[in-house]
Every structure is written in structure tokens, then in C-alpha cells.
């Protein structure tokens, strides 16, 4: 019994973590690039490495009282892929050029990546950040891949 539990736990760890990794990789590979304008950012450090707290401009002009526990907002990217808020999604069909972005309600909207972790000591590389770069898929799931400056240039070290 103990032996079974020992190996079953190992299996559980490997399968669940690797499935989550595959899911994220799928979003990265198939996702569409979308930029979200940042409210002023603020680098700080904790024991798990340096990170930066992000707040998105788009989250500031969403009417709070219409938010559900979790759901999607509809956004439309402009020519530079910067997403503009359209409305809160309630199941209707999307127009051309409209995309979904998943949110959670935590007494305010959370778009998934409210912090950005980077290599220790690299804070000055990200001070000029103006946009958060996301990969989103058609269900609205997103992964934050990096930060960009005011001319949409990628900041920091990028590793494939």
C-alpha cells in the first residue's frame, strides 16, 4: 500500500505539472500577440527572485458591478496590437477584430498576470515598460510573455 502511494504520488506530480506545461505551451504556440497598456509599474524583489507588479490600464475602465466571478471581456486590438476594451462578454458572438480575454474577479478585475518575474538584478531593463505582451488563444486564455517599451520594442533578455 505504501509503495503504491509512493509511486502514485510521483506519477500525480509529473502528470499534472507536465500537462499544465503543455497547456501553456499550446497557448504560446497558437496564441495571437496582444499588447496591454500598463499603468505605472513598480519593480521590487522577494525571495523567489525579482518581479514587477503590473496594473493594466484596460482594467481601470471596466464597470465593476457587471463583473462575474470569472469570465471574459471582449477587446479589439488596434494596428499596433494594443487591446482596447469593448465590453464584458456574456456569450454573444464576436464581431470581426474582436477577441476574448479571460478575467477573474478579485474585488476588481485580474487579467491573469499581475506580476512579471525576471532575472535577479535586471530591474533597470524593464523600467521603461509601457505594454505587457500577451499570447491569447480563442478561448481568452492568455500567457504573459514579456514587456515592451513605448515604441513597442521588446525589453530585457528574450530566450526562445
Amino acid at each position: 500500500m505504501k509503495q503504491i502511494l509512493l509511486w502514485a504520488t510521483l506519477l500525480l506530480v509529473l502528470v499534472s505539472v507536465n500537462l499544465s506545461i503543455i497547456k501553456k505551451e499550446k497557448t504560446l504556440a497558437a496564441g495571437r500577440t496582444m499588447l496591454l497598456e500598463l499603468a505605472p509599474v513598480d519593480p521590487r524583489s522577494l525571495i523567489q527572485g525579482d518581479y514587477m507588479i503590473l496594473r493594466y490600464r484596460i482594467a481601470e475602465n471596466i464597470p465593476k458591478e457587471q463583473l462575474r466571478d470569472k469570465g471574459c471581456i471582449v477587446v479589439s486590438p488596434d494596428a499596433n496590437n494594443v487591446a482596447k476594451f469593448v465590453k464584458i462578454h456574456s456569450g454573444e458572438k464576436l464581431q470581426d477584430g474582436e477577441y476574448l480575454l479571460f478575467y477573474r474577479n478579485r474585488g476588481g478585475i485580474r487579467l491573469g498576470a499581475e506580476s512579471f518575474c525576471f532575472q535577479e538584478g535586471d530591474a533597470q531593463l524593464y523600467l521603461q515598460a509601457k505594454y505587457g505582451e500577451l499570447r491569447t488563444d480563442e478561448t481568452g486564455t492568455s500567457v504573459l510573455v514579456g514587456l515592451r517599451g513605448k515604441d513597442f520594442e521588446a525589453l530585457g533578455r528574450r530566450k526562445k
Binding site: 509512493l6 527572485g49 498576470a113
Partner: protein, 343 residues
């Protein structure tokens, strides 16, 4: 078989007792000690200490290496390294045998590495928003190993992770979104830790079959009891000093505190005599009592002067020394009772 000193297991404590009671003379006592604790004892102790320190330092090194978030190292290499570390630890634990201390330490290392893996996953895909998810997933994933290890250190790590996850959940979701008061958090934390104090007592009884934890060092139980009491003390103190915003659940917390402290005192005084938990309970009760007195003396008055503070300092001295005297007397009484049941 009737109880006699002659059919007891010979250990250092028993021999010391016989010597103290004058049954063994010095020569016999030292001869017995040499048999029970051979010269290699210190080597075994050093061996175990080095095992603990070595694994702790190695794991810290691994944690800090990945915390650096080295950008030049590809994400798949990081995942592969940590996952192979976990697999290697579990295989090593199996090979050494999970009943042996080395096997248990390997299992503890595997459990810590799962946390590292989840942290690197969070770093890589920038999932930073809900940190409680990391801790709760970690606790769920390693539960099986904690259960098979029967190792207090691993259970302790598990409880630290689970407590952290619950506190973060309350801080990030339960409080701001669902509006749970801090009292519900305190009650939940107290229930979790109190439950483990409770089941740690069934290690050597007929319930051992269902117990997950048969080894039960005193420090483990003492730390959990302290965590339970501190969690329940918070609403109790709140009830005393901020009586304007009393809610039902605050009173429930204070009631749970009184019940837990009183019940635990009775158990450790009468049923399972043990001084360490008694000292923790009495210390906690002193804090509550002093907050109460301080509130009446300093808070409720229109103003207070340095004289009030001096007076309060004397009260603190009085209450703590009374508690210390009381505990010493209890210790003497309990020693006498144990002696009484033996002869």
C-alpha cells in the same frame, strides 16, 4: 504481568531513575550507561545531524539557484532538471527504504523540489496573480508522500505549506472577493493544526492503523498546539479590545479559544501528562489576561500617566511570576503522581 521496575525496557532514563532512587550504585550506573550508550553513540548523532544539515543546505542551494531566474537557461532545461531531481529522490528513497531515516529525508527533498518545480512553472508562464494556488497545489501534490513517510519533519513542512496556502487564499480571494472576516481564517487555521495535534495522539494506540502519523516528537505537537492557540487568541483579543464591532463569529472564536485552552489543559494535566503543552497553554492564557487587564487599565481610562504604565509593568511581573510558580508546582505534582502510579 504486574508492573515492576524489572520488566521495563532498559533505557537511559530508567537507569538514571534507578540510580537517583539509590537502587544502583555509581559503579553499576556507569557500567549500565556504557552498555546502553556505546562510544559510537556520538558518531550516530553526528551522522544524523550531518544528514539533516547537508540536505537542508543542498535544498537551499537548489531553491536559490532557481529563484535567480536565470534567463539564459531555457525553460525546458529547468523543468527537466527539477523533474529528474524529483524522480531521483523518490527512487533513492525507495532504494534506501522509506522506513529508514535516509529514505525519509529523500522523500522530504522530493517534496521540497515539487515546490521548486511549481515556482519555476509560475516564473516561466508568469502566473504570479494567485500565489495561493502554488501553495495549495503543492500541499495536495505531496500529501501522499507525507502520508507514507510517517516523518514528523515532512508533516511539519506539509502543514507550513497548507497553512501558508490557506492564509494566502484568504488574503487574495476569501477576504477581498467573498468578504470572509479574519475570524473564519483563524478558525480554519486552528481546526487544521488542532486536528493534527489530535491525531498525533493516536500513534501508539489501537487507532495506529488509521493514523497517518505514528512517530510523534514533542516539538511537533508543541508547535502545532501553539499555532492553534495563537490563531484562536486573535479573535479573543479582538473581542476584548474592540467591543464595538463584535460579530457572532468573533464570539465563536473566543468561545473556541476558551474550550480549546481549557480542554487541552485538562488533557495534558490529567490524561496525557506533559509539561511542554501545559507551559504553552499557560503562557497563552497569560497574554490574554494581560491584554484584558491592560485594556481596563490603560485603554478604558480617560488618560493614562507614566504611573499607570509602571503599575501595569508590576502587574505583568506579578501575572508571569504567578504563572511560573504555578507551572513549577504542577511539574512537581505530576512527577509525584507518576511516581505514585509506579510503586
Amino acid at each position: 504481568m504486574a508492573y515492576s521496575r524489572l520488566n521495563q525496557k532498559a533505557d537511559i532514563a530508567a537507569v538514571r531513575k534507578l540510580h537517583r532512587d539509590g537502587i544502583l550504585n555509581d559503579a553499576a550506573f556507569f557500567a549500565a550507561i556504557r552498555v546502553l550508550r556505546p562510544a559510537s553513540m556520538w558518531a550516530a548523532w553526528a551522522d544524523r545531524m550531518l544528514l539533516f544539515f547537508g540536505s537542508a543546505l543542498l535544498l537551499s542551494g537548489i531553491i536559490f539557484f532557481f529563484a535567480y531566474n536565470w534567463a539564459a537557461m531555457g525553460r525546458f532545461l529547468k523543468f527537466a532538471l527539477i523533474e529528474s531531481g524529483i524522480v531521483a529522490c523518490v527512487i533513492a528513497s525507495y532504494a534506501c527504504g522509506i522506513r529508514r531515516i535516509v529514505g525519509k529525508v529523500f522523500l522530504l527533498s522530493a517534496s521540497v523540489l515539487v515546490g521548486v518545480l511549481l515556482a519555476v512553472y509560475g516564473q516561466t508562464y508568469q502566473t504570479g496573480a494567485d500565489a495561493f494556488e502554488l501553495f495549495l497545489c503543492w500541499a495536495v501534490l505531496i500529501f501522499g508522500w507525507a502520508a507514507v513517510s510517517d516523518f514528523a519533519a515532512l508533516w511539519f513542512v506539509w502543514l507550513v505549506i497548507a497553512n501558508t496556502g490557506i492564509i494566502l487564499y484568504w488574503y487574495q480571494v476569501g477576504g477581498p472577493y467573498y468578504g470572509f472576516g479574519y475570524e473564519s481564517l483563524c478558525l480554519l487555521i486552528a481546526a487544521l493544526n488542532g486536528f493534527f495535534v489530535f491525531i498525533s495522539h493516536f500513534g501508539s494506540t489501537e487507532l495506529a492503523e488509521v493514523s497517518l502519523l505514528t512517530s510523534k516528537p514533542r516539538w511537533f505537537r508543541a508547535a502545532l498546539l501553539a499555532a492553534t492557540l495563537v490563531a484562536l487568541s486573535l479573535p479573543t483579543i479582538d473581542l476584548m479590545i474592540d467591543s464595538y464591532h463584535v460579530e457572532g463569529i468573533t464570539i465563536l472564536g473566543a468561545f473556541a479559544w476558551a474550550l480549546t485552552a481549557g480542554g487541552a489543559y485538562f488533557c495534558y494535566r490529567r490524561k496525557l501528562p506533559d509539561m511542554v503543552p501545559l507551559a504553552i497553554i499557560v503562557t497563552d492564557a497569560c497574554v490574554i489576561l494581560l491584554v484584558f487587564i491592560g485594556k481596563i487599565l490603560l485603554w478604558d481610562g480617560d488618560f493614562y500617566t507614566s504611573l499607570h504604565i509602571l503599575f501595569f509593568a508590576l502587574i505583568v511581573l506579578g501575572v508571569t511570576s504567578a504563572a511560573a510558580f504555578r507551572l513549577r508546582k504542577t511539574a512537581r505534582d505530576m512527577a509525584a503522581e507518576t511516581k505514585g502510579t509506579e510503586s
